[in-house]
């Protein structure tokens, strides 16, 4: 049964479209289509061709053709390869990571760099500390040579 058999109120209005599509659906196929498809199938590569087990003569080595023996051999090969990989993996030590990290220098937003200038913080002017004065003992005699050698000390007024 075709779906066009159902009667709907607007079927007649869309008959033109269906007629065009039917013409399209009944177009003759090009000659030799099947032959070309056959040829394409023949030329297509056969996938899944695995290297076969070598031919064995006689029943002595018939076990070699059994799927169990093939599976066991494949498992042995995989185990040998994996064992070698594990050996290498366990022997190789990872390189130590550095303790310090160099931080990237961030450029100023306007595009100019600071040219390695160091910022000096502004600090308050603290009290000026004058060198301490040593009180003289008035009873001690002044050596005239020492007075002459250090006149500034002698001229310093006492407060």
């Amino acid at each position: 049964m075709n779906v066009f058999d159902s009667n709907t109120p607007r079927t007649t209005a869309s008959n033109e479209a269906e007629e065009t599509l039917r013409l399209l659906a009944n177009l003759p196929t090009p000659e030799g289509l099947e032959a070309r498809v056959h040829l394409a199938i023949k030329q297509a590569p056969r996938s899944g061709a695995v290297l076969s087990w070598p031919h064995s003569s006689g029943s002595k080595s018939a076990w070699a053709n059994s799927p169990f023996a093939r599976g066991a051999a494949a498992a042995a090969i995989v185990a040998a390869v994996m064992g070698g990989c594990w050996e290498v993996y366990t022997r190789v030590q990872p390189a130590p990571s550095p303790n310090t990290y160099a931080m990237p220098r961030v450029a100023a937003p306007n595009g100019f760099s600071s040219a390695n200038a160091m910022r000096t913080p502004r600090t308050l002017n603290g009290p000026v500390i004058s060198p301490g004065q040593v009180k003289k003992n008035p009873a001690q005699k002044t050596d005239p040579r020492s007075v002459s050698s250090s006149p500034t000390k002698a001229q310093t007024p006492s407060k």
Binding site: M1, N2, V3, F4, S6, T8, R10, T11, A13, S14, E16, A17, E18, T20, L21, R22, L23, L24, A25, N26, L27, T29, P30, L33, E34, R36, V37, H38, A40, I41, A44, S47, A49, V50, L51, S52, W53, P54, H55
Partner: protein, 196 residues
């Protein structure tokens, strides 16, 4: 040939067992019969969407090559015809999607040229071609889901159940989409006539 060469040749040779060989022959025979039986149907399905003979033939070949790749699952397929139409349908939709940049007007004029117009004069033939081109331009304006159902429903040999199988939807969905498609087509054709 030395002994070692003989041994190596034994490794490289593909030696299927007798049972495998027989099975391969059976599959190839089934595939060949499918080509003979369904290639023309698949071509017409592909052509209705692609509207280009070379592209349609390519799509058919690609469909059978996909079957060849999955030939081991052939026994599990219940309806080979619907299965093949589904494969080619997916291929043509994919190609149509990729070739979206191509102007639709070229497709339409090409299609109008190949449509048969037997027993018509040259003037009538030109008029018919123009009409079909106009109708196809209206079909191209339909939404994708409705357009797909309308395309497949034009094939006499496809029932609504089979269309549902091809599109992977239910039969009731096929019917409702077809109903909408017909209504939209009627509106589009009326609208285009009123503009003329």
């Amino acid at each position: 040939m030395s002994a070692s060469q003989t041994y190596l040749a034994g490794w490289m040779e593909i030696a299927p067992t007798v049972r495998e060989d027989t099975r391969q022959h059976e599959i190839e025979a089934a595939l060949a019969s499918m080509v003979d039986e369904y290639a023309s149907t698949l071509y017409r399905v592909a052509y209705s969407v692609l509207r280009n003979p070379a592209d349609a033939e390519d799509a058919v070949q690609e469909a059978f090559l996909r079957v060849l790749r999955h030939r081991d699952t052939l026994d599990e397929v219940r309806d080979h015809r619907v299965w093949l139409i589904r494969i080619v349908w997916n291929i043509v939709l994919d190609r149509k999607r990729r070739a979206k940049t191509r102007p639709e007007t070229d497709d339409v004029s090409e299609l109008a040229r190949v449509l048969p117009a037997k027993g018509l004069s040259a003037e009538q033939r030109a008029s018919a071609a123009q009409h079909h081109a106009h109708v196809l331009a209206c079909i191209d304006q339909l939404p994708g889901k409705e357009r797909e159902v309308l395309f497949l429903s034009a094939f006499e040999e496809l029932s609504s159940v089979e269309i549902a199988g091809v599109l992977g939807i239910t039969e009731s969905s096929v019917r409702s989409r077809l109903f909408r498609a017909r209504n939209l087509m009627a509106e589009l054709l009326q609208h285009s006539r009123s503009l003329r």
